[in-house]
């Protein structure tokens, strides 16, 4: 009988045994897409170490290397490029690694902004009720009438008009984060508000009120942890959408500038060479973007199903 331990299981052990982790281990789609996302994120984070060349340092660029096809040595210089080079002799693999870093950064930062803003406004609307609720949700309704990408373009245009021309290239990344983040908060706010309306009548909230905790503390310390599950799902799906939105804006020429190209900017550049036969300048960035967006989307789908108790 001595092998029955009364010690509580370790933290790692309890995570491993949780329903979510079990469902994750059993889903091949989730495993594969998580692996793809992990590899791509690591590649982006360690771009500086992994990239074979420094594509943004004019000193190491050689125009003679321009238009080298993938997996060949350049005819003039003899330099080798796995995925070829673009018109300016920049290594395509390296530009993708650095570009992915910008895409992922904008995606994560924008979702974080949308999440903080949306969760806070949703909690406020649900908990405070009354005219606070009315004002916040009306604004949300108006914004929801317009597709997010349009709102993001508009915010980008306005922000561009406000920043002085000499700072525009530097600020472009932050303007993108702001534009995409502000265009996406409504989803979070609506879900959190709905959950808050349910939670605020429960006994633990009444108890917290009774012992005199401030409304802010009740919202953040007590209600917030109980409404986080759906927020997590929306955040994952939003991340894929934000990365696609960033790529779309950059592709349209209202996003990351060519001096700091994201995946979308690279696709924009590559599109010019589609007709002249240099397919690799377009193909590899596009394939990377697709892999990234698809695997995050699949992960989000899985998470939604796994966290939804009705589907079990």
């Amino acid at each position: 009988m001595s092998d029955i331990s009364t010690k509580p299981p370790s933290r790692m052990r309890s995570i491993w045994d949780s329903d979510l982790a079990y469902s994750f281990r059993r889903s091949p789609v989730a495993l594969v897409s998580a692996l793809v996302v992990l590899v791509l994120v690591l590649c982006a984070v360690f771009a500086a170490f992994l990239a074979p060349h420094d594509p943004f340092n004019p000193a190491t660029l050689n125009l003679m290397n321009g238009f080298t096809p993938p997996n060949t040595n350049n005819a003039f210089t003899g330099d080798y490029f796995v995925l070829g080079t673009d018109d300016q002799g920049r290594d395509v693999l390296s530009t993708i690694l650095y570009g992915m870093r910008i895409s992922l950064f904008v995606g994560f930062a924008a979702v974080l902004l949308a999440m903080i803003l949306g969760v806070f406004l949703g909690l406020l609307a649900g908990y405070a009720g009354g005219w606070t609720d009315t004002v916040i949700m009306r604004v949300a309704d108006v914004q929801l009438t317009f597709p997010a990408i349009l709102v993001a373009m508009l915010i980008f245009g306005i922000a561009k008009g406000i920043t002085p021309p000499e700072y525009r290239d530097q600020m472009a990344i932050w303007v993108l984060v702001l534009a995409i983040g502000l265009s996406d908060w409504v989803q979070f706010a609506r879900v959190v508000r709905g959950a808050t309306l349910v939670e605020k009548n429960k006994e633990y909230v009444q108890a917290a009120k009774l012992i005199g905790r401030s409304p802010l503390a009740i919202m953040i310390k007590h209600i917030l942890p109980n409404v986080l599950n759906p927020v997590l799902v929306i955040a994952t799906i939003s991340l894929a959408l934000a990365i696609i939105a960033e790529a779309t804006l950059s592709f349209l020429g209202v996003g990351a500038p060519p001096t700091k190209p994201s995946l979308g900017t690279l696709i924009r550049i590559g599109q010019e060479f589609m007709f002249s036969g240099e397919w690799w300048i377009l193909f590899f960035p596009a394939a990377t973007l697709l892999a990234l967006a698809l695997s995050i989307n699949l992960l989000g789908d899985w998470l939604r199903d796994a966290l939804n108790p009705r589907l079990r």
């Binding site: 009438t145 007709f275 967006a293």
Partner: protein, 326 residues
């Protein structure tokens, strides 16, 4: 019913007023309008005079009211970039966008309903499963990549269809159409598919879900028991009852088709209002941005309103509910 309609119209007007406020604020606070209108050689007196002329010395509410008056008459001033009245430019560009939106909307609706019915009826078939998997990938694919792939296959490799522009257009005086020439129709194919594909997958998945739901209902089972032919069950009994949500979503998607036309028009250099808007954003051409915003919000709000009204026309249950409630 009447009270509901009046409330909806009232809400729509509020939305338009808020959007108008946003557009007005853009004029007022992004860059200095006086600065944009006067050239390099200006005196303080010039600035003062123009300020007075434009009414910039009045208070905010009065200025906003003036702006609304002008906007209702379609007057948004001159484009900073082209120096022509914004309204003229918009009217000139609008036919291209509307024709594109119309054709891609039809593609989405017809293709979406047909595929939706097919995948619902042959739920376990291989073809249906392939279509469903394909649609999942289609949803993750950014619109501009679809356009690029189509250009690569049909313009670069096969050389069948043009990759940019509208082809030859016929000028009807107040409307330019690409429907009447062969090159115009050929130029329309790729952009229309690009724009319609995403909406098509949405409509398809919706029709499939609704159809599966309806096919489980008792009245379908009774219809089967009565020996009515399969075809008639699927199309006369089941399809009819899936149409309400389909019409709502399609109506709402019409708005996003016009918005997403921005992306498609840029990929194919299609000379519509979307391309105009994106160029305006690039060059911070505020009057064009503001006018586009107002135009598109009138469309969106109008479409939403019409869809809501259509509910009543299509679904008799709603009418009964309302009457019973009051």
């Amino acid at each position: 019913m009447l009270a509901y309609m009046i409330r909806r119209v009232f809400q729509s007007v509020i939305v338009l007023l808020v959007v108008g406020l946003v557009a007005f604020s853009m004029f007022r606070f992004v860059g200095d309008p006086v600065d944009n209108m006067l050239g390099q050689e200006r005196t303080q007196a010039d600035i003062e005079r123009l300020r007075e002329q434009l009414g910039l010395d009045e208070n905010f509410v009065v200025q906003y009211w003036r702006f609304l008056e002008q906007a209702v008459q379609g007057n948004f001033g001159l484009s900073y970039r082209q120096g022509r009245p914004v309204a003229d430019i918009l009217v000139e560009r609008l036919p291209a966008t509307l024709e594109l939106a119309l054709v891609s909307g039809l593609i989405a609706l017809i293709g979406g309903i047909a595929l939706g019915i097919f995948t619902a009826i042959r739920k376990r078939g291989i073809a249906a499963n392939l279509i469903m998997t394909g649609s999942l990938i289609g949803v993750s694919l950014p619109t501009f990549l679809i356009g690029i792939v189509l250009i690569y296959v049909f313009s670069v490799e096969l050389g069948w269809l043009p990759s940019f522009g509208r082809g030859e257009v016929t000028d009807l005086g107040w409307w330019t159409t690409g429907f009447l020439t062969v090159s115009g129709l050929k130029a329309l194919i790729l952009p229309a598919i690009t724009l319609g594909l995403y909406q098509m997958t949405l409509i398809m998945r919706l029709v499939r879900t609704e159809m599966l739901e309806v096919l489980r209902m008792d009245y379908i089972r009774f219809a089967r028991a009565r020996g009515i032919r399969q075809r008639s069950i699927h199309f006369r009994h089941a399809l009819k009852n899936t149409l309400v949500p389909v019409i709502t979503i399609t109506g709402l998607q019409l708005g996003s088709i016009i918005a997403f036309a921005i992306i498609t028009e840029t990929v194919f250099q299609w000379p519509g209002v979307g391309l105009l808007f994106i160029n305006a954003v690039q060059f911070v051409d505020i009057p064009v941005m503001a006018a586009y915003l107002m135009m598109i919000s009138v469309m969106f709000v109008g479409i939403n309103l019409i869809v809501d009204m259509l509910y009543f026309a299509i679904d008799p249950r709603l009418r009964v509910d309302r009457k019973g409630g009051h």
